[in-house]
């Protein structure tokens, strides 16, 4: 089901990113999916996310589809040229994948195959226009397709990025090309989100605010020094600093809940990126958005 349907029905949409296996054993992956599946509208499957090589998102999404779980398939331009991109999109549609998230992708250097050749034949804007063109029954060079896919296209945005203007400009282009929803990078500052929402209000596209629970003070410091646009305020870090380990989860979840409760009225959904803390995601989601009724 298209995510845009949910938005149209006025639903506060929740997605959670789950990392595909590195290898072919799916046990742990499926276990993790089980933890969150009743608390989300869809599960995001990364495409060799953060440039770490893993099982193909397409195959993993197919697996979820078979289990009647709605996937959002991420597709990056880092590892494919325009031929591969279009062909993967057609393949995805064939196995029933409807929601896609199109991103340019972190460069190989941040991941575990630093020597890999970055492709970037397309950028994030041309990615969107390619997908849109497929849905209209044409490939990017104008050849007709025998049967067109039907996609709900998502893109990403980074509200904390500075300077904001060039970034917003690109976002505008992506939407002009046909993007239908936005999932943002994680934001810890209500004001940053307010400013962003104001800037994108004219686009009239639903926004899901990205959220990563703070696993430790050190992880927060790491994000501050390594993730562009992410800024965990010192106040939050100090809340976690020096806490006995057993207390961190409890405190951190409360911080997430407080923050997201204040963000909820501003946006249309939450996108959880919780690398390894999936077990805590339901607690936060439920506290913020209430128990999820069965999918409409």
């Amino acid at each position: 089901m298209h995510l845009s349907e949910f938005f149209r029905n006025g639903r506060f949409v929740i997605t959670c990113e789950i990392t595909p296996p590195k290898g072919v054993n799916t046990d742990e992956f499926l276990n993790t999916v089980d933890m969150v599946k009743n608390h989300v509208d869809a599960v995001n499957i990364g495409d060799n996310q953060r440039a770490v090589m893993r099982a193909a998102a397409l195959a993993v999404c197919h697996l979820l589809k078979q289990k009647n779980i709605e996937p959002v398939m991420e597709l990056t331009a880092r590892d494919r040229n325009r031929i591969a991109i279009q062909s993967d999109l057609l393949g995805a549609s064939m196995v029933g994948i409807e929601n896609i998230l199109l991103v340019s992708g972190y460069p190989p250097a941040v991941g575990d195959h630093a020597q890999a050749k970055p492709v970037y034949d397309f950028d994030s804007v041309s990615l969107v226009s390619a997908a849109k063109s497929l849905t209209k029954g044409q490939d990017v060079t104008g050849h007709a397709l025998d049967g067109a896919p039907d996609f709900c296209i998502g893109v990403v945005a980074n509200p904390g990025l500075k300077p904001a203007e060039p970034h917003l400009e690109r976002l505008k282009q992506k939407i002009a090309e046909g993007a239908q929803f936005i999932q943002t990078q994680t934001v810890y500052d209500l004001e940053v989100l307010e400013r962003f929402m104001e800037a994108v209000s004219k686009f009239n596209v639903p926004v899901m605010v990205g959220h990563t629970m703070l696993r430790s003070a050190s992880m927060a410091s790491f994000m501050n020094s390594n993730l562009p646009g992410v800024c965990v305020p010192d106040k939050l870090i100090r809340e976690l600093e020096g806490l006995p380990k057993q207390k961190i989860a409890e405190t951190s979840l409360q911080l997430s809940i407080d923050l997201l409760r204040r963000m909820k009225p501003l946006c249309q959904g939450i996108h959880f990126m919780v690398a390894g803390w999936e077990q805590h995601m339901p607690t936060v989601a439920e506290a913020v958005a209430g128990k999820r009724p069965l999918r409409p």
Partner: protein
């Protein structure tokens, strides 16, 4: 005693050594920096050396640092060691953690230090080094045991708050206890929350488990460990568990006698160890206990306990009080890091402990017990229903007056506690151990606040804590100027008492159990003969037992302690089996448990005093009974060098029996002779 060195070691694990140089440069002289170049070596050193902090840098190949970080965080041995990940970033370096790894990091601290390419000179790294130093020092502070620091630091007055757990798993008492600890942790005004161990000899929820919970709330627990209910193995086992979970502060106590409220009746009193033994056990563990496993000697990693014990100066008679101080001497010699006084309201008595320590050249810190006294408790204590807690008639009367106030005496009793706080602080105590039924955190803060205010005028308050017991004995002469003590010991008027059994036993002892005597030398071969045949041995044992039952009420423990307690058997005559001095529970000389009998240690004192030998009580730390000898004839055990008295006197087991060991020793002796 204070093994602080361990806190100063930093282990650096990184493929390149540059971090080591930076830390050495930045840390100043007091940090010892060790280095490991790869994962395997890093894990080994972390587990063996137990450093105060681990600093993890880039490790080849990429991904190793993250793996190791997981192992260190999850490992039983290393989980409590703070882990600092340092990313020395430059344009050509690889990050310590990939982005994905970074998001899953659970280290205590992450520090990204930017340096330009090719910057090797340390002087150009001054800023990152300064940040690193700051981080290390804040981390060291978090691992330091603040209770130890507060008690040992003469400029800090340590405050602990006593909590009493109750029976039951889900009771309001437990709820309140945890809530109190939570508030105390949040407010940060007190150093530790202490939890009593089966208080009053009643079963209660486990103090060890509550204390690990208290620690999770972010405040140091002080675990009371009473030897009433646990034998030596159980104590050791609990201590390992506590050490492993990072609980370090202990209060070792004999414990009240089991109450009659146990499951289907009174519980079996254990008292396998006394507090002197407990302190010795902890000391041994702190030094790295040696033991034999499968024929191989191994040394266990040292623990880091800070262990205190109690002393009861509020004793009425000379014999009781002297017994307390003899035992205190042994406790200090066995490694007591601090002492807490028993409950009492007589300032001169508190001062007596401080003076006693000073006069005897000990620097052991003293915590004063401050119990907020409501009328109900005062009545119970006045009639001596809580062993060792002294409330005199005069004090009871005052409390009864106060209770007539509209607030039913609340402000008066908090003020009394605050005044005690002031007196204790002024007098030179290291801290206050505050307790009281239903005491709220706010009340504790009030006591601290008012107490601190009044502390400078403490001398004027002393007169308000003048509660001598009827004919109460004081160790020192009274100082008429201060109302406290001079450093001159008072006369000890007791003349002792002479009992025929004791006099006879003394005589027998000198002739029969003196390794230098003719009788001893003559009887030793006979003892060996008796020992070699089980029939002879049991016949002899039967005879010995009969004699000793008749004379001393012997329990046939085989590790006879009659010599240590002036021929009073601590196994049968002392309900708490105290081998090193009296417990704190006696009342005007009468035993806490058998209130119609004199405390054995009072009797022992009197017997020895007659011969001017009473000081001997404080001389030897008597080990706990060796249960291996249970039921065997103790005379043979003595003659054949097997029991603790024989060992103390240097009586060796006969040679044939332990041939290989002996011949080894002989060889060694020869060799040393040669060398000489």
């Amino acid at each position: 005693m204070n093994n602080l060195n361990q806190a100063d070691r930093v282990l650096v694990i990184a493929s390149a050594r540059d971090l080591v140089d930076m830390i050495k440069e930045g840390a100043g002289g007091n940090l010892e920096v060790t280095y490991a170049a790869n994962q395997k070596e890093g894990l080994e050193k972390a587990r063996k050396d137990l450093p105060a902090i681990i600093v993890l840098g880039y490790l080849e190949p990429q991904g190793t640092a993250f793996q190791l970080h997981r192992k260190l965080q999850e490992g039983w041995i290393t989980k409590n060691i703070p882990l600092l990940i340092v990313d020395l970033q430059s344009d050509d370096s690889r990050p310590v953690l990939s982005m994905e790894e970074g998001l899953q990091m659970e280290a205590d601290e992450y520090l990204a230090l930017r340096r330009g390419d090719g910057q090797v000179s340390l002087t150009r790294l001054a800023e990152p080094i300064a940040r690193l130093r700051e981080k290390l020092h804040t981390r060291l502070k978090t691992t330091a045991n603040i209770v130890r620091e507060a008690i040992l630091d003469p400029n800090t007055f340590c405050v602990t708050w006593e909590q009493v757990p109750g029976r039951g798993a889900f009771e309001m008492q437990q709820e309140e206890l945890v809530e109190n600890a939570r508030r105390a942790a949040r407010k940060g005004k007190i150093h530790a929350v202490s939890v009593t161990d089966n208080p009053g000899g009643n079963p209660a929820i486990s103090t060890e488990i509550l204390c690990t919970e208290v620690r999770k709330l972010g405040i140091e627990p002080l675990v009371h460990l009473a030897f009433r209910d646990k034998n030596r193995n159980e104590c050791e086992s609990i201590l390992y568990g506590l050490a492993g979970l990072g609980v370090r502060n202990l209060l070792l106590l004999t414990g009240d006698y089991p109450s009659s409220g146990g499951f289907k009746g009174r519980s079996k009193p254990v008292f396998d160890l006394d507090s002197v033994h407990g302190l010795q056990l902890v000391q041994m563990m702190n030094n790295g206990m040696e033991h034999e496993a499968m024929g191989k000697k191994t040394t266990l990693a040292p623990t880091d306990f800070f262990a205190g014990t109690s002393v009861s100066p509020f004793k009425q008679s000379e014999a009781e009080l002297m017994g307390q101080y003899f035992k205190l001497k042994k406790k200090i010699e066995s490694g007591a890091d601090f002492v807490i006084t028993q409950l009492g309201y007589d300032a001169r008595k508190l001062h007596e402990v401080l003076t006693w320590l000073k006069v005897h050249g000990y620097s052991t810190p003293v915590m004063s017990n401050i119990y907020v006294l409501p009328l109900g408790a005062a009545k119970i204590m006045n009639t001596n229903q809580i062993p060792g807690c002294v409330v005199t008639d005069k004090l009871l009367e005052e409390v009864a007056q106060e209770a007539k106030a509209p607030d039913r005496g609340r402000s008066a009793r908090l003020t009394r506690a605050a005044k005690m706080y002031a007196v204790a602080k002024g007098m030179g105590c290291a801290g206050a151990h505050i307790g009281g039924h239903g005491l709220t955190y706010e009340a504790v803060e009030e006591i601290i606040g008012k107490g601190e205010e009044m502390a400078k005028d403490w001398r004027t308050l002393v007169a308000q804590f003048d509660y001598p017991q009827r004919d109460g004995f004081y160790y020192f002469e009274r100082d008429p100027q201060t109302g406290l003590n001079l450093e001159t010991p008072a006369a000890r008027p007791s003349r002792g008492s002479r009992t025929p059994i004791y006099e006879f036993s003394r005589l027998a002892h000198v002739t029969l159990f003196n390794p230098k005597s003719v009788v001893f030398k003559g009887f030793r071969p006979v003892a060996r003969r008796l020992d070699s045949s089980s029939t002879l041995e049991s016949a002899f044992g039967f005879f010995e037992h009969l004699t000793k039952v008749a004379l001393f009420g012997c329990m046939n423990c085989g590790d006879c302690s009659l010599f240590d307690v002036a021929f009073l058997c601590p196994m049968s005559q002392c309900p708490k089996n105290q081998r090193n001095g009296p417990c704190g529970g006696s009342y005007e000389g009468w035993c806490e448990v058998h209130t119609d009998k004199k405390c054995v240690w009072v009797r022992a004192y009197e017997r020895l005093k007659k011969h001017k030998e009473e000081e001997e009580i404080g001389d030897n730390c008597v080990p706990p009974c060796n249960w291996e000898l249970m039921g065997t004839p103790s005379w043979l055990n003595f003659y054949l060098g097997r029991d603790h008295s024989a060992k103390r006197l240097g009586i060796q087991p006969p040679q044939e029996k332990a041939k290989p060991a002996e011949s080894d020793k002989a060889k060694e002796a020869k060799e040393t002779k040669k060398a000489a």
